[in-house]
Amino acid sequence: MKPLLLWSDLLIYLLVLMLCLFFLRLRGDPQTREHWRRVFSTRLGMVTFTLILVYVGIALLDSLHFRRALEPVEGTQSTERFYDNQVTSALDVMLAGMGERFERTYSSPFALISFAKENMKDENGALYRDFPQLEHAGRHLATPADRWTDVLKKSITALIWGLLISAVVVGMQWAFLRRSSLPWYASWLTQTAVICLAVWLVLISPYYHVLGTDRGGADVAYQSIKGVRTAVLLGTLATLIMLPIAVTLGVMAGYFKGRVDDVVQYLYTTMSSIPGILLIAASVLLFQVYIDLHPDFFSTGMEKADARFIALCFILGVTSWSSLCRLIRGETLKISQLEFVQAAHAFGVSHSRIVTRHILPNVVHIILITFVLDFSSLVLAEAVLSYIGVGIDPAMGSWGNMINSARSELSREPVVWWTLSGAFFFMFVLVLAANLFADLVRDAFDPRTGSRVATA
């Protein structure tokens, strides 16, 4: 086994570290703590935050990559170890080989036979045409009629296991948090549901394809789970790349005014007047040409996909800073007129100190709100970009790629609906949780909405 650190793995861990530090720093401020308390004092806040954490957790697990060592070939006397070209992650191990059970082609959820008829030979060597049995589904059954009772039995076992595990997990939290005034029980219920679902999926997937298989015979549930990492990473990384540009330019424009302001305004008007999708598409294409011309830079296909993915994040970040920049500029303009900034000027405090001590803390709420609001729109944008063909590399699992390859399947007869369902479900839950959480954060942190709620 040889660990493999992709650039995006490094970035995702750095990101999580940075976010944790950011939150810890914010904790020191009593006002911010009060805002967060308002977010988490609602049941909705607890549930959505738990769900988001689950997704982040899956993404982190999926970012521990390694390459399996290959068995030495018989008869060769070499001390050198060879490694599999296939990159595996910790998540793959936890899912117990769910991604390695391939079928020939489509099969519906919990099916025992394939979706398409094939030519086969019976014992006497005569050709006949029928639906072949699946290789990795229902092989343990005596007769096909047992299927649903077997599924029910396995589900109940899984449910018991899931409840046991969640009892331990929730119990430990309960021991620490039972005196807290926050509605933790909402989070615990969500955790129980997620754990039960995960245990059920792991226990039942060796026997059935829970969400069926796609055209290439790959397990749809597995692919949908693999899309989580891409979505989470893209949603956070692109915003984090955009933040420094937007904040620096916005604060500079609002604080120094005059020429600087003119230049920054010109820059963001120019940027925002280009239709974003075209700019992104053009940039990604250029990067694609670059990769095609330098194929020797990357040793595995995964590394190439990874490079393209990071480039996509950069492009999304660099092309989307104009709206945040405009907001921050306006806010900085307003703040720099206030008395405390004037007083700081009168005392002869340096520009850099005024910006860091007096201006930045007062625009942090805008940054935070933008961060959570942009997350969901980036996840949705990924699907569209992948559909257009300028998104994630097909070698890397993503919901956009799944939708793209499944889009014409609804016109089949009988309908192949399950290939879309996995991507739809996982994407919908993540985006919905992120949207609802973003609303709560905005209501809590935006002074404007705060006053509105108070007067209403």
């Binding site: 120019t270 294409l285 559909y387 300028v390 939708i403």
Partner: protein, 325 residues
């Protein structure tokens, strides 16, 4: 007013120049004409002669910004920047990499695009405002909270699923309209219903929610209380008092939508097989035809700037206190 418009148009020139410079840098400096030749010719036929030939044929065999070999003003005009980028200002888009005239392509493909985009845009705004006004009537009730939740849920569904779902339900299961395609004459509206419907429904979540916040902001103002105290009916308050006062933010929000028209157009046209500008773009992206992408970026930014100017003009209509000068 006229002077204002002319001044705004002059402001647009440096912005368009910036857009041009940016796309030029992207297309020619980052990705040199040699790279383009290689990717267009395909790896098999790459010889220095073939690259040179391709560059000559497509007019890329000149220096980027400054041509020292040419005399006088030609040293600035005999360059790639002038011939490929600045000529866009005269709406001279030149030829695509496959040799077709981009200007004729765009002018024929413009109409199907407009036929889809304009109805879905207008109907979308109308539906969103109506739904939002309806929701405002139930403000601060349980129903209101659930409707907002439904809006957020609708926002959380990818545009792609709306298209796929719409095609499946309306066209395939109920067989009300054709699944895709376009016909320029006769019953062309048949092909337009579904794209417009999908565009409108997909926009309700975000749109109606946004208008709802706008209206609520107005609903807390003193004049609304006064109107209510006078005994005006709720309907009258909504349509005669709140709606006109919320027009300014509504108009501002509409400009923000123009770029998303592009995105929506791209997807809708490709799914429904409408031969408009969106599918033109998509084909260009897929075949890596940068000449078309460049022209479309230019047109897109012009549309955006025109949209901005139109909003400013419509402000004076929505708010008689405003004067542009």
């Amino acid at each position: 007013m006229l002077i204002y418009i002319i001044r705004r148009l002059f402001y647009a020139i440096p912005i368009l120049l910036g857009v041009n410079l940016l796309t030029f840098t992207l297309f020619f400096v980052v990705n040199s004409p040699d790279d383009m030749a290689v990717s267009q010719l395909g790896a098999k036929y790459v010889t220095p002669e073939a690259i040179q030939l391709w560059k000559e044929k497509n007019g890329y065999d000149r220096p980027l910004f400054y041509n020292p070999d040419a005399a006088g003003s030609d040293s600035l005009t005999e360059t790639i920047f002038f011939s490929k980028s600045l000529r866009l200002f005269a709406f001279d888009f030149g030829r695509s990499e496959s040799g077709r005239d981009i200007t004729t392509d765009i002018s024929t493909r413009m109409w199907p695009s407009l036929a889809v985009a304009v109805p879905s845009f207008l109907v979308g705004i109308w539906v969103n405002i109506c739904v939002a006004l309806l929701v405002v009537m139930f403000h601060a009730t349980r129903l209101d909270r659930w409707i907002v939740f439904v809006f957020v849920a609708m926002m959380s569904i990818s545009y792609l699923f709306y298209i796929i779902g719409g095609q499946y339900l309306v066209a395939k299961t109920w067989r009300l309209v054709p699944i895709s395609g376009f016909h320029a004459h006769g019953q062309f509206w048949k092909f337009l219903i579904l794209p417009v419907l999908v565009g409108v429904v997909a926009g309700i979540g975000a749109g109606a929610r946004w208008y709802r916040t706008l209206f609520l902001e107005e609903a807390n103002q003193d004049y609304v209380r006064t109107a209510r105290a006078k005994g005006a009916s709720e309907i009258r308050i909504l349509f005669r008092h709140i709606l006109p006062n919320a027009l300014i933010p509504i108009l501002t929000g509409i400009v923000v939508l123009i770029p998303s028209l592009f995105m929506g157009g791209l997807l809708i046209e490709s799914f429904f097989g409408i031969p408009g500008l969106g599918s033109y773009m998509l084909d260009a992206i897929k075949s890596q035809d940068f000449a078309i992408v460049r022209s479309m970026v230019f047109i897109g930014s012009i549309l955006y700037i025109i949209g901005l100017i139109l909003t400013d003009i419509s402000y004076t209509w929505a708010d008689p206190r405003l004067r542009l000068d």
